[in-house]
Every structure is written in structure tokens, then in C-alpha cells.
């Protein structure tokens, strides 16, 4: 249906938006590649929708410029931008049937009746709505309405598809199904997708890149594994999933990375210590830590006491306290957790040097 070459490439350059004295977006610079699947991730009120509205042309930025394929579109009205948009709550036309909803953007573009018919038919088939053509939106289930919204936004082959939390109203299993379908539609159409969510697992699973927002600022952009394994700061590290934070003292460069003191024991890190010296935070994901029978001189490790466990089926989540009072969570095989709890609760925590990363001390 669509040649990947038609997908748009978007550049946001120093975009800012103020509502009165409130800064909803601040100096946002972001390149969105041709045909990429970019997810905007951030807590409620972080400015994701505002940025999407600016991309669509419904909101005018207070500063900055926006380029599409190298052309400045900052002042171009929404109806001329040809961005497909799926709104939160779908925003279907309630007085039009499924067919008429999907045909709307083609009618606006004055396509011939024959072309409209064939393209709407093709789109209905593609999103699995065959047999529902004549129904009104109110007669459809949430998942079906979602599909109509997707079909309507894709039928005119837009250069970019903007999606604002399209799955937030769906239950979990339907959500998974729709995510898979959306991934397929992205591959088939080759269009640039910009997707908003505040569900981090959804973001990591779907995207080619993730952009993390907080308080109107873009904190980090990168591939899912990059942002998960190498977050730029504490907020990103915590937002993307559970993480353990241990204070380290006297960080200095060493062979192959950095070294420092954690709970009075020397620990090694593989990351570079140029930016961070002295005191810092060592961050390790729960699934990257394990429990060892005893201390070993050539491995990172600290002593801890198990305080509680939560059985999760495939694994057990163990909550521990270190000697200096830091709280740590690890995810370990069930029998390891049972053994740890039976051995008077005192255990030895270890982690591979390449799995720990340093964050500046004291927050953001």
C-alpha cells in the first residue's frame, strides 16, 4: 500500500510551549527518523499530548520550529499537514458508519467513488472489521472502535501517524493483541509512527526508539535497550522499571571502567567515570543481581539480610536490607529464595560489573 519512501522525517528544533506562566514544554529538540516507531513516554502532565498536538498542528508552539522532510511546517494549519492521528478515546464520528468514518479523509481529498470504495474495503479487511461496515461507532466494542480509528488515520497514507494513548481504555489481553497488530501495521505501511503512552513496558516492547519526558523536558532518547540499560539519570532509571540504588564513595577511573567503595567494599563498574567522580549512586536492575553462598574477592558483592519475599510464579521477589540500611530488591529462582530465607536470612548479594551503572549523586 505505502512505499517506505513516503514516510515523513520530522525535526523539532527548540520547541517550547507556555500556557500563561506554565511551561508545558521546554526547549525540545528531537529528530524523528523516516519510518521509525518512536514512543513518547512520561508521567501524567509531562507534556506528551502537548507535543503530539504541536506535531499535528492543533497547538501552536510558543518557540521553536518544526520541519517535515526539511520543510518548515511550524505555521502550517492542521488540515494541510496530513498527519494521521488517533486520539485518546478514538474521537470517531458518531453519526457515521464504520465505512463512512474510514472514507472521510478520502472524501475530503476528493478521491473518485471507485477509489474510495476499494481503499476503504482494503483497509477494513486489513484491520479485521469485515462484517461491521454498516455499524455506527456506538454499536462497536472498544477494540473495534480502536481499529476504526486506526483505519481512518491510515487510509489516506499519511507521512506520519500520531497516536495518543490509544490502548489506555482496553483491558490487558486486548491491549497485547492491539499492540501486536499495531506493530504489524507499522511494518506493512512503513509510515513514521509517534506513539504516546505512560506504560513503560508497552514503550519498550513496541518502539524502535523511546523518548522520555518529565516536567515538559525531554530527558533522554534512545533505543529501548539503551535507555533501559544506560539511563541518563535517576528519573529515567526509575521510570523504566524497578531498580536498586546503592551509594558509592570515592569513584575514580580504573582499568576497563571505574571503581569505588560500596558498603566499605571495593566494587567495579564497566561504565566510564569521567563525568562522575567522588560520590555517586550505583544502579542495578533486580533481575541483574543474584545471591551467592559466600563472598568472593574478585566479584562485586555486599552482605544483606532478607526481610520479605513475594512469590511471582516463575520467580520470587526478595526484599533485602544491606548492612548500611539500603533497601534492595532482587528477582531470583524460587528455590534460591527459599534457601536464602532458611539460612538465618543473611545472604551475599552479587552482580556482574557490566550490569551496574553510575548515576550522579542526589537525584535528577
Amino acid at each position: 500500500m505505502q512505499q517506505p519512501g513516503r514516510a515523513a522525517e520530522i525535526k523539532a528544533n527548540g520547541i517550547g510551549k507556555s500556557f500563561g506562566s506554565f511551561r508545558a514544554l521546554d526547549n525540545l529538540t528531537l529528530d524523528i527518523g523516516r519510518g521509525e516507531f518512536l514512543t513518547l513516554l512520561g508521567p501524567s502532565g509531562s507534556g506528551k499530548t502537548t507535543f503530539l498536538m504541536i506535531l499535528a498542528g492543533f497547538v501552536q508552539p510558543s518557540e521553536g520550529r518544526l520541519f517535515s522532510d526539511g520543510v518548515d511546517i511550524t505555521n502550517r494549519p492542521a488540515e494541510q499537514r496530513a498527519a494521521g492521528m488517533v486520539f485518546q478515546g478514538y474521537a470517531l464520528f458518531p453519526h457515521m458508519s464504520v465505512e463512512q468514518n474510514i472514507a472521510f479523509p478520502l472524501k475530503v481529498r476528493k478521491k473518485s467513488a471507485a477509489e474510495i470504495k476499494s481503499r476503504v474495503g482494503e483497509m477494513i479487511e486489513r484491520v479485521g472489521l469485515k462484517g461491521h461496515e454498516k455499524k455506527l461507532p456506538a454499536q462497536l466494542s472498544g477494540g473495534q472502535q480502536q481499529r476504526v480509528a486506526l483505519a481512518r488515520a491510515l487510509v489516506f497514507e499519511p507521512g506520519v501517524l500520531l497516536l495518543d494513548e490509544p490502548f489506555s481504555a482496553l483491558d490487558k489481553s486486548l491491549r497485547g493483541q492491539m499492540q501486536a497488530e499495531m506493530k504489524r501495521l507499522h511494518q506493512e505501511t512503513g509510515t513514521t509512527f509517534v506513539f504516546v503512552t505512560h506504560d513503560q513496558s508497552e514503550a519498550l516492547a513496541l518502539s524502535s526508539r523511546v523518548a522520555i519526558f518529565n516536567h515538559g523536558k525531554l530527558l533522554q532518547v534512545g533505543k529501548p535497550d539503551e535507555v533501559y540499560d544506560r539511563p541518563a539519570n535517576r528519573f529515567v532509571a526509575e521510570f523504566l522499571g524497578e531498580i536498586n540504588m546503592l551509594p558509592v564513595k570515592g569513584v575514580r577511573p580504573a582499568d576497563n571502567g571505574a571503581t569505588g567503595l560500596c558498603e566499605d567494599r571495593a566494587v567495579n563498574m564497566r561504565c566510564k567515570a569521567e563525568a562522575i567522580k567522588g560520590d555517586a549512586i550505583l544502579a542495578i536492575r533486580p533481575e541483574d543481581m543474584s545471591i551467592a553462598p559466600e563472598a568472593s574477592a574478585n566479584q562485586n558483592g555486599i552482605a544483606a539480610t532478607a526481610v520479605a519475599s513475594t512469590y511471582l510464579g516463575a520467580a520470587t521477589k526478595l526484599d533485602l536490607t544491606t548492612r548500611q540500611g539500603a533497601r534492595v530488591t532482587v528477582s531470583v529462582p524460587n528455590e534460591v529464595a527459599a534457601a536464602a530465607l532458611s539460612k538465618g536470612n543473611s545472604v551475599w548479594l552479587t552482580w556482574p560489573a557490566e550490569k551496574g551503572f553510575l548515576l550522579p549523586d542526589g537525584g535528577q
Binding site: M85, H95, F104, V108
Partner: protein, 277 residues
């Protein structure tokens, strides 16, 4: 559940005096009118038969329906424009629109009718102005005819037509309009193909209210029509108070009430009562 039940009983108790008053003041006397229509001057269906054959009565009925229809179209159209400004305009526009909607409520129907006479009569403001700029040489007949009646009635009814429209426009999801524009539709096209169809229930409610009200108009057509475009309410008045034809007057009343009742039933099928205020 229990709470709602006792709430309802409480509401019913509070409403009871009003209901009693309505029965005593309207329903009971109306039963008398129904009785007259079957008994005066002689018992039987004679008056209803006359109603079907009397040319004067029929021409008044047709005129009433015609005027009501025109007034409905004029009022709903004007009210639609005012409501769009009221609900979706800038803050200043909103205040102005609200003023236009509310001011007529403070002036009595009689005053307004005479106001229109002053404006529209042969030596009224409109005619003198048109003559002074040389647009016309002879004054136009703008009053004491159907035109005057339509102007006066529409003016009275526009504020009533506004409320169902405003309620429909307020409940409309803004994002649907954005969606239309995002899909490439111009503002004009979005208005006609999305906004107007989505306020359909408001248009129906507004039109039915205006139409029903128009059927019963008395003062405005009597003054602005100058006896030349008599409407049904005036005809009933003439039959009962100025001729001994009580039976026919009563029969016309019964037909009118039944017709209006049917329209009201239609109205409440399309709109919830709370949308009307």
C-alpha cells in the same frame, strides 16, 4: 437504591401541590371545553364535522401551520448562529451573545409587539430610513401582514430555540472536531459534515419547541397581523368571545391540544427534558 426511592417519594411530595394546581387550573376547565365541543349547540359530532368543512377554519389552520413552519425555520437558523457564538466564541463574543439571548426575557411580549409595529410601520424607522437613502420610493408593507407576524414571533421564540441547541453543542466532544481537521477537512467542511450532524438532537428539540409554541401564539399575531392574518388562537378567541359559536371554538381547541400533545410526545422521544433548559 433505597435512597433513590425515598428521594423520588420526596420529589413527588414536593411536586404534588403543583400538580394539583395544574389539574385545577387547566385540566379540569379543559374537560369542560371538551364537553362543550360535543354538546353545543346540539349533542353529537356536529362541530367536528363543521370543522372539516368550514373553509374559514381550514384556511386559518393552514395559515397557522404555514406561519409556524416558517417561524420555526427562521428561529432555529438564527438561534443556531447565536448559539455557536455563545458556546464556542471568544469570551467577549460569549458575553454579547448571552446578552442578546437574555434581554428579550426582560421585556413583555406586548411591548415587543408594539416595538416591532413602531419599527416596521409605513412611517416606522425601517421605511423612513430606506426612503431617505433613496432605496425605495413607496413605503413597504412590513406590518399588519404575515411578514410582520413572522418577524415578531421569531423574535420572541429565538431565545427558547437557543437552549436545546446550546445543550447539544456543549456535550459535543471537541476531539471529534479536531480529528476531522487532522484528517484534512477545512473548517467549513467540518462545520457542515461533522458539527451540524452531531447537534441533530438539539436541532430537533429546538424546532419542535418553536413549532409547538408558534401554534398557540395570540398577542403577537393579533397586533402585528392587524386582523389580516388571523391564527388559530385568535380564531378560538373570536369564536368564543365575539360570537355565540362556543361549540366550534371548543372543537378547534380540542384539535389543537391533541395535535400539540402528539408533538410533545415526539419531542420527548428525541430529547431529554433536562436538555431543554
Amino acid at each position: 437504591m433505597r435512597g433513590t426511592l425515598s428521594d423520588r417519594t420526596g420529589a413527588a411530595l414536593l411536586m404534588a401541590p403543583l400538580l394539583l394546581f395544574l389539574i385545577l387550573a387547566y385540566a379540569w376547565p379543559f374537560l369542560g371545553v371538551v364537553k362543550w365541543s360535543f354538546t353545543l349547540p346540539t349533542p353529537g359530532l356536529g362541530q367536528y364535522h363543521a370543522l372539516l368543512t368550514d373553509e374559514l377554519v381550514q384556511s386559518v389552520f393552514i395559515r397557522t401551520l404555514r406561519i409556524a413552519a416558517i417561524v420555526t425555520v427562521v428561529s432555529v437558523t438564527a438561534a443556531y448562529a447565536i448559539t455557536v457564538v455563545w458556546v464556542r466564541g471568544s469570551p467577549v463574543q460569549r458575553v454579547l451573545a448571552e446578552f442578546c439571548i437574555l434581554v428579550p426575557f426582560w421585556i413583555s411580549v406586548l411591548t415587543r409587539a408594539f416595538g416591532w409595529v413602531a419599527l416596521l410601520s409605513n412611517r416606522g424607522l425601517v421605511n423612513t430610513w430606506l426612503q431617505s437613502i433613496g432605496f425605495i420610493s413607496e413605503p413597504l408593507t412590513l406590518v399588519r401582514n404575515e411578514f410582520g407576524v413572522i418577524v415578531g414571533m421569531s423574535h420572541f421564540l429565538i431565545p427558547f430555540a437557543v437552549f436545546p441547541l446550546a445543550s447539544a453543542m456543549r456535550s459535543l466532544d471537541e476531539r471529534v472536531l479536531l480529528a476531522a481537521r487532522g484528517l484534512g477537512s477545512s473548517r467549513m467542511r467540518t462545520f457542515w459534515t461533522v458539527f451540524v450532524p452531531m447537534t441533530r438532537s438539539g436541532i430537533i428539540g429546538s424546532a419542535l419547541i418553536t413549532f409547538v409554541f408558534s401554534l398557540g401564539f395570540f398577542v403577537t399575531p393579533a397586533i402585528l397581523g392587524g386582523g389580516r392574518s388571523v391564527m388559530i388562537a385568535e380564531l378560538i378567541y373570536l369564536r368564543i368571545f365575539q360570537s355565540p359559536d362556543w361549540g366550534l371554538g371548543a372543537a378547534i381547541s380540542v384539535v389543537l391540544v391533541v395535535f400539540v400533545g402528539a408533538l410533545m410526545a415526539l419531542l420527548f422521544r428525541y430529547v431529554k427534558p433536562k436538555q431543554l433548559v
